[in-house]
């Protein structure tokens, strides 16, 4: 089994304050891992750290270079560009050409020429998720991917994830919705909540 991401003893901070510590897990290709945990525990911070957007406080994230694609709370869509233009742009950035598969998977074909600003919240999210398919990257790191999706769209998404896993990809996501992905492992991050540092430890980090 090929390793996609390996996280060892990772600590992450939000706004200069350590929120999670000592997290270790591995994700192999063809696997999905769902992060659970109460609001504010640091799931987003963890995902951003794994995606390389911020440095960890300690510990390591190992992954094949340029294999991760990240999708956050926002979809990175431009309101004045059409659905097609938005998707084409991201395909070009990642060096791909064919976007028809992604359009079909999320049933965007009929909306192709609509400006992204005129889409409903759920349609926007579908477009944002379609972006993952056109990047051609193997490891999906997703933060609340199903927000504002209806039941059909969630099924669409679950289908896309399943197909992605079948092609040797993997997915790491923070979500509260049951996707019906039986093969997905679940990791509850609540036990990794960072403990308050010792009061005597008044050194580099002022604590």
């Amino acid at each position: 089994m090929v390793m996609a991401i390996s996280v060892s003893d990772l600590s992450v901070a939000r706004g200069g304050i350590k929120v999670l510590e000592g997290i270790s897990f591995t994700l192999a290709s063809g696997q999905a891992l769902v992060l659970r945990g109460p609001n504010g525990i640091g799931k987003t911070t963890l995902l951003r750290t794994i995606a390389g957007l911020q440095p960890p406080i300690s510990g390591k994230v190992e992954a094949t270079p340029e294999s991760i694609v990240y999708a956050g709370h926002t979809d990175g869509l431009k309101a004045t560009l059409s659905v097609l233009e938005n998707l084409n742009f991201w395909a070009q950035v990642f060096g791909n050409k064919d976007i028809s598969g992604a359009m079909k998977q999320y049933e965007l074909t009929t909306l192709a020429d609509r400006p992204a600003g005129a889409l409903s919240a759920g349609q926007k999210r579908r477009l944002g998720l379609a972006r993952l398919l056109v990047t051609g990257r193997l490891v999906w790191v997703l933060d609340e991917p199903t927000v504002s999706l209806d039941r059909d769209a969630v099924a669409m998404f679950a289908g896309a994830v399943r197909a992605h896993l079948g092609q040797g990809g993997s997915a790491l996501m923070a979500t509260h919705i049951d996707l019906g992905l039986d093969e997905a492992a679940i990791l509850d991050v609540a036990p990794y909540r960072a403990k308050a540092p010792e009061p005597d430890d008044f050194d580099g980090v002022f604590l």
Partner: protein
């Protein structure tokens, strides 16, 4: 662990400055009092400039410190970028307002001196203009520190700004020199003081410069201590929230 970086530890820094700060403060007071009294009351009037020349004892040291403070901030920023010592970043932050005030003092005393000498409070002389630009750089630097909530982010961004700003400050200095020699070659107002200052003026001036250097060090140490404590307070509050 006998390296200079030992003092980059906040705790060690506070302990050391506890001992050093009173001495530096006293020395700076002594040097300033001696230098200023000597300069103001025990030197003869200049045969051309009369008694107005005595403002030199404030003007020259403050102008020197205005530039040196920026240099110190540059070095501290580099140390922060390379070695990530928090005290270094906070020292740069602490030095900025002091340097800015030095710039203001230099500009104000310059204007007060310039009025009787040149008949004008302000002239777009290269030197004056460069100091005005330096003042703007200080303003931007301090504003950026103040605008960013996260301390480490602020330290990183202001360090980058300080680096880039230093290059542009030097560029501006040359540009301004070039600019005023440009088309309108009016009366050159720049006074090259160091060269034509006689020994009688020179010695008290040196004492005053020493006093200003010590004053600067004392103020920066004091302000760095304040910054460290403020930072510690925020860290403790954050820890409390984590509970």
């Amino acid at each position: 662990m006998n390296s200079i970086w030992e003092y980059a530890n906040p705790k060690k820094f506070i302990q050391t400055t506890d001992k050093v700060l009173p001495w530096v403060s006293i020395l700076s007071c002594v040097a300033l009092v001696v230098g200023l009294i000597w300069g103001f009351f025990f030197t003869p009037d200049d045969y051309r400039q009369g008694s107005t020349v005595k403002i030199i004892y404030l003007h020259v040291p403050s102008a020197l410190m205005a530039i040196n403070a920026w240099m110190m901030m540059l070095v501290a920023s580099l140390i922060w970028i390379v070695r990530r010592h928090h005290v270094s970043a906070l020292a740069a932050r602490a030095a900025a307002p002091v340097g800015m005030i030095m710039t203001v003092i230099a500009l104000l005393t310059g204007a007060i001196w310039g009025q009787p000498m040149w008949g004008t409070w302000w002239a777009w002389d290269p030197r004056l203009t460069s100091f005005l630009i330096l003042f703007l750089f200080y303003l931007g630097y301090i504003a950026l520190w103040a605008a960013i909530e996260n301390d480490d982010t602020a330290a990183d961004l202001t360090s980058v700004l300080c680096l880039v700003g230093s290059v542009f400050a030097v560029l501006s200095r040359y540009a301004v020199n070039f600019w005023n020699q440009g088309l309108h070659q009016g009366a050159s107002l720049s006074l090259d003081k160091e060269e034509n200052v006689a020994d009688v003026f020179y010695h008290p001036l040196l004492v005053c410069i020493a006093g200003f250097v010590l004053l600067f060090i004392a103020l920066v140490l004091l302000r760095t201590r304040t910054e460290i404590r403020a930072r510690r307070m925020r860290a403790l509050l954050a820890r409390e929230r984590m509970g």
